[in-house]
Symmetry: C2
Subunit: 252 residues, 2 copies
């Protein structure tokens, strides 16, 4: 049995907050410390970004000519578009109300993952960028929260993405440590001795999505969750392993 525990009583996060300490307090209050083998702590991108000071005052952003042109195409705030361009390596799609980019971390997502919703009171003119290095942040959280050795314990940094062809968002991993974000089973056989057709499993995305069942969106949101009882395969690769390089892209 796998259990997904919502983590409560995490205060509104501000730049410089000690996120590991706050998460540790919440885990302890829930009776979940120490972490044990088969645990993965899922931390939503928003609180990590806030702790890292990734909140930008939009009134300080000067949109350049590219941003202004793209803002007209997409009918979006040119200052936001300027940030989207700074955070991305390529524009994948730009049509009215839609701006999909390849984030500098490789993830293809709307608005380079920049969020203007639910980022604190009085923040109407502010935008929250993705963390600078979510895999590294996951590693640091893991080292702090499982200092005595991390075998079979992981941390995932989650976000929500829309998808082509399907309505609605699901969770995805933009950072991971302590587990193989992508599980490669090429060469393995199924129970009838036939080679598996499905050979790569996006484990960290699956874990991020499972956590969204308790972290939710909006008013009732919970900023982190602990998943206990996972059978984690050996290996340790960050969420970068989930990114399909542009040259392999079927839908450029």
């Amino acid at each position: 049995m796998i259990a997904i525990h919502p983590l409560f009583d995490i205060p509104e996060i501000r730049e410089g907050d000690d996120l590991a300490a706050l998460l540790g307090d919440s885990l302890a209050a829930a009776g979940l410390m120490p972490l044990q083998s088969g645990d993965v702590l899922v931390v939503t991108q928003k609180i990590l970004s806030k702790a890292e000071g990734r909140m930008i005052d939009l009134t300080t952003v000067e949109p350049g000519p590219d941003a202004q042109a793209l803002a007209e195409t997409t009918r979006k705030d040119a200052r936001l578009v300027e940030l989207v361009l700074r955070e991305s390596s390529a524009v994948v799609r730009a049509v009215p109300h839609v701006l999909i980019t390849r984030h500098r971390l490789g993830h293809v997502m709307a608005n380079s993952g920049i969020d203007r919703s639910n980022i604190g009171p009085g923040d109407a003119e502010r935008a929250l960028l993705l963390p600078l290095d979510p895999d590294g942040s996951a590693r640091r959280l893991l080292d702090r929260l499982a200092p005595g050795g991390t075998a079979g314990i992981g941390v995932v940094i989650s976000d929500s993405f829309g998808r082509p062809w399907r309505h609605g968002v699901v969770g995805v991993a933009i950072g991971a440590a302590g587990l193989p974000a992508l599980v490669d089973r090429r060469g393995e056989e199924d129970r009838d001795g036939r080679r598996l057709e499905v050979t790569q499993i996006a484990l960290a995305d699956q874990i991020a999505t499972a956590a969204t069942l308790v972290t939710g969106e909006g008013a009732e949101s919970v900023p982190a969750a602990l998943i206990r009882g996972l059978a984690l395969p050996d290996g340790d690769a960050g969420a970068g392993a989930l990114v399909r390089p542009p040259e392999e892209d079927l839908f450029r």
Copy 2:
């Protein structure tokens, strides 16, 4: 806390098996009956397809000229390609080793969801198609397993899809009953009174993906799971609600 229970001891399924009875036995053996509000039973597509007799003997399939041409392009078995075409309304992408179609149910997926892996001993020449009507099958399973009233109890039929831009598969819902497969929160506000940017949540896909943490793939696979403790929003819409119609597609 949400619990994901793997369901064990489900025998190899054959055409005509009473899947509801077998699932009920497994649920009862695990101490999970009767179902209660907040429960969603996730059933993998494979066992539903097998019970429905969707296994096709490839030696009986006569590929037509379209299938033969497409088989050459994709370097796939022409008989398999013939089935893929029969099951689909459009070919989305065909390149060597890749054939992505829009299934007649609307889902965009590799090979129209047809599976040649892990479908029983001696099945090297057989292929397993998706169920005929997964939303209807989910409804029938729900009616059988929660006959006294189904408030807050759901059934999801799950499959695994690859995705553009990201490596690895995740779970998706191809059928659902008893819950809103898509949760529409347009018009709602976040805790700071700002309108939510993320307004549609693919709840049934999230549930299907969470279940894959125990149903897995391949040798150790478990064909069903019970998720207990969900806070299901009101509403009842099948997995068809998750399909983005072709005319809204950004990546045709």
